[in-house]
């Protein structure tokens, strides 16, 4: 086994490969950082370039892009308050306040370093867990997927930090929007109003661009003319020692990082959900377990650490089902799956047997990619920070243009560009009425998965819903969901009684 690891390492360490990985990392960070350009898009665009490369080199290039892209989102999340990718949504919650409080280098440094840690830890998990997990995951069927999806939706809704009716409304609206299009399993047209474009449903990216970019510019326009101070941001790296924070601050985050890494890895492993989900869940979990949950959202490092460790940990996590089963762990790994196919390689249990040196090249690439990301992203921060020195009234319109390009580039149709306007308005209304956005996003992303697997499971169980409880893993999650839901409703009605009667 060690000789194969050595072989893989040699492939990854060749100068040609390293240069390509450096380019891949930088490109990935740019795609990750710019709202409207996503990691998936960067990977799709990078894919044709790999045709001329050998499979191992091509995949190494794409992996470095993936890691850079996942991490790059933190730059705009912190500096602009707009997540560069869905994986950095939760980074905005504390990253932007930290910047506004004058602690931008600490936020960026923490984000980059803990992205690195998340990647490394999850790669270790990938190496040691993948053979074992292949066996268990083989048993997952629609019943299990449905139960997990429902549990995740309820969990995020409850942790949204808002009153339950509003949070549930957001989640339900998210699921509702996800039902637009062809229904799963029987392809019935729903809410399409005769439009061929609605048949395909809404793209997740358009939801995110709309909810963040468009909403952001509308919110900014409310008060921008009243601003009296210069809005320019100074990112001063001269007096920054190391990565912008002390060793003490670093060690204070060790448990947050550990928990977030585990969450990221686990969510990454579950096919279909990855960094875009784990950053929100990790954030909410760490917030609820914190000794000072009320500080989350005001600008504390814990929030950034939670989000960035978990989203990069999901990279390694998402690679596990991809390599062991040939099932993509998230959108980005779906592109990697395509890359494998193009090069004539079938990922799965046999990959470890027949092409072990490639597998080890991938492991090596993940470590190397993590190091490259750490160095390029941190020392290139000044370059990225230059973007921030552009005044907001010039920057935001340009960002909006890029986001329309991003939306358009998905499928070359203006429908997606119109969709970002729709979700932008929705997001603005949500903010005005203090309705939380994360349950909406989760409801949208997981709602489809939940319904699809509910119906598939029912088909397999002959429409017998009780059959879901006969499957051990599925019933565990379902019972947990029911109990948790009951607990939440009890707590809400208690709070509500206090609210109602306290006022009088």
């Amino acid at each position: 086994m060690f000789e194969l690891f050595g072989e893989g390492l040699l492939t990854a360490l060749q100068p040609y490969t390293l240069i390509l990985m450096l380019i891949g990392t930088a490109v990935g960070i740019v795609f990750g950082a710019v709202p409207g350009l996503s990691t998936v898009m960067g990977l799709v665009l990078g894919l044709p370039f790999t045709y001329a490369m050998s499979p191992a080199v091509g995949i190494c290039f794409l992996i470095s892009l993936y890691i850079g892209g996942t991490s790059g989102g933190l730059i705009s999340a912190i500096l602009l308050g707009i997540p560069g990718t869905p994986s950095s949504i939760a980074t905005c919650f504390d990253g932007l306040p930290m910047k506004n409080n004058g602690r931008v280098m600490e936020a960026l440094g923490m984000g980059v370093v803990f992205s690195f840690i998340g990647t490394v830890v999850s790669t270790l998990a990938l190496i040691f867990i993948s053979p074992l997990l292949a066996k268990v995951a083989l048993q997952f069927g629609p019943h299990e997927y449905f139960s997990i999806a429902i549990f995740a939706i309820i969990l995020i809704t409850s942790l949204a930090g808002s009153t339950l009716p509003k949070a549930f409304f957001a989640a339900l609206m998210g699921i509702g929007f996800a039902t637009v299009g062809l229904s799963p399993t029987d392809a019935v047209k729903r809410f399409t109003f005769g439009s061929p474009q609605l048949v395909g449903g809404f793209n997740t990216l358009t939801v995110l661009i709309g909810l963040f970019a468009i909403t952001e510019i509308l919110l900014t326009s409310e008060t921008i003319k009243f601003s009296t101070k210069q809005e320019k941001i100074e990112v001063n790296m001269k007096n920054v020692k190391g990565f912008g924070f002390t060793i003490k601050e670093f060690l204070e985050q060790k448990w947050n990082a550990a928990v977030a890494a585990v969450i990221g890895i686990v969510i990454g492993i579950i096919p279909g959900i990855g960094g875009s989900t784990s950053n929100l869940i990790a954030y909410n979990v760490i917030k609820s377990r914190s000794k000072y949950p009320e500080k989350f959202g005001t600008g504390i490092a814990d929030g950034v650490v939670a989000s960035e460790t978990s989203n990069n940990a999901s990279v390694g996590g998402a690679m596990i089902p991809l390599l062991t089963l040939g099932i993509p762990g998230d959108g980005a790994t779906a592109v990697l799956l395509g890359a494998f196919m193009v090069h004539g390689i079938v990922p799965g249990p046999l990959l470890f047997k027949n092409n072990a040196s490639l597998v080890f090249a991938i492991f090596a690439a993940m470590f190397i990619g993590a190091f490259l990301m750490l160095i390029v992203e941190f020392f290139g921060l000044r370059i990225f920070a230059q973007v921030l020195r552009v005044p907001k009234y010039i920057l935001l319109p340009i960002v909006i243009v890029f986001t329309t390009v991003g939306a358009f580039a998905l499928a070359s149709r203006t429908f997606d560009v119109i969709a970002i306007l729709v979700f932008g308005i929705l997001g603005y209304i949500f903010v005005k009425f203090k309705i939380p956005q994360s349950p909406f996003i989760i409801g949208f992303i997981l709602g489809r998965m939940a319904e699809e697997n509910l119906r598939r499971g029912l088909i397999l169980s002959d429409n017998n819903i009780l059959d879901f409880f006969s499957k051990p893993i599925a019933s565990v999650f379902l019972i947990a969901t029911i109990l948790y839901l009951g607990y939440m409703l009890l707590r809400y009605s208690n709070k509500f009684m206090k609210y109602r009667y306290h006022k009088y």
């Binding site: 409304f169 699921i175 039902t179 229904s183 510019i217 003319k225 601003s227 319904e451």
Partner: protein
């Protein structure tokens, strides 16, 4: 219970009513989905469930808002004109994206929006805005054309591009 009148102006009440409207709207649209009469769990199941749940949530929220005591809310500084102008400009930009083409709409959008958003204390330098708008509208178009083979809408300029 001391306060007998219902609070209709509360934000919670308004959001609750919006929720009810959403639930109703969604529910009415659900009726258009063809269903399988013999099956409970068909394509209508989840949407119907969602609409019912939204209505329930809407009732809870409206109720919560209605019984809340009346409070004077301080109005924050809110520049309605800029928000509406920005919104209108984005809407026009997007609606004419394909027909007029990327370069034209982007140029106009950038130029006008930068003007709209400039804070009062800054002296507007129209030449800078002009240059930036031109640079980005043409630059992005060709970057994606040659760099990524993504063909943004040419629109009215199709014959020249």
């Amino acid at each position: 219970m001391g306060n007998k009148s219902l609070n209709w102006e509360n934000k919670d009440t308004i959001s609750g009513i919006i929720m009810l409207l959403c639930g109703l709207g969604y529910g009415i649209m659900v009726l258009k989905i063809p269903g399988t009469k013999s099956q409970l769990f068909d394509s209508r199941f989840v949407p119907s469930l969602i609409s019912v749940l939204i209505l329930i949530v809407g009732i809870l929220q409206t109720g919560r808002g209605l019984i809340a005591p009346k409070e004077k809310i301080e109005k924050k500084e809110f520049d309605k004109k800029t928000v509406i102008c920005t919104f209108a400009l984005i809407a026009l930009y997007i609606l004419f994206y394909s027909s007029a083409g990327f370069i034209i709409t982007t140029f106009l959008f950038l130029f006008l929006e930068m003007n709209i958003l400039t804070p009062g204390y800054v002296k507007k330098n129209q030449i800078v805005y002009l240059v930036i708008s031109l640079f980005f509208s043409v630059g992005i178009y060709y970057l994606f054309y040659f760099g990524f083979s993504i063909f943004l809408p040419g629109g009215l300029l199709d014959t020249f591009l």
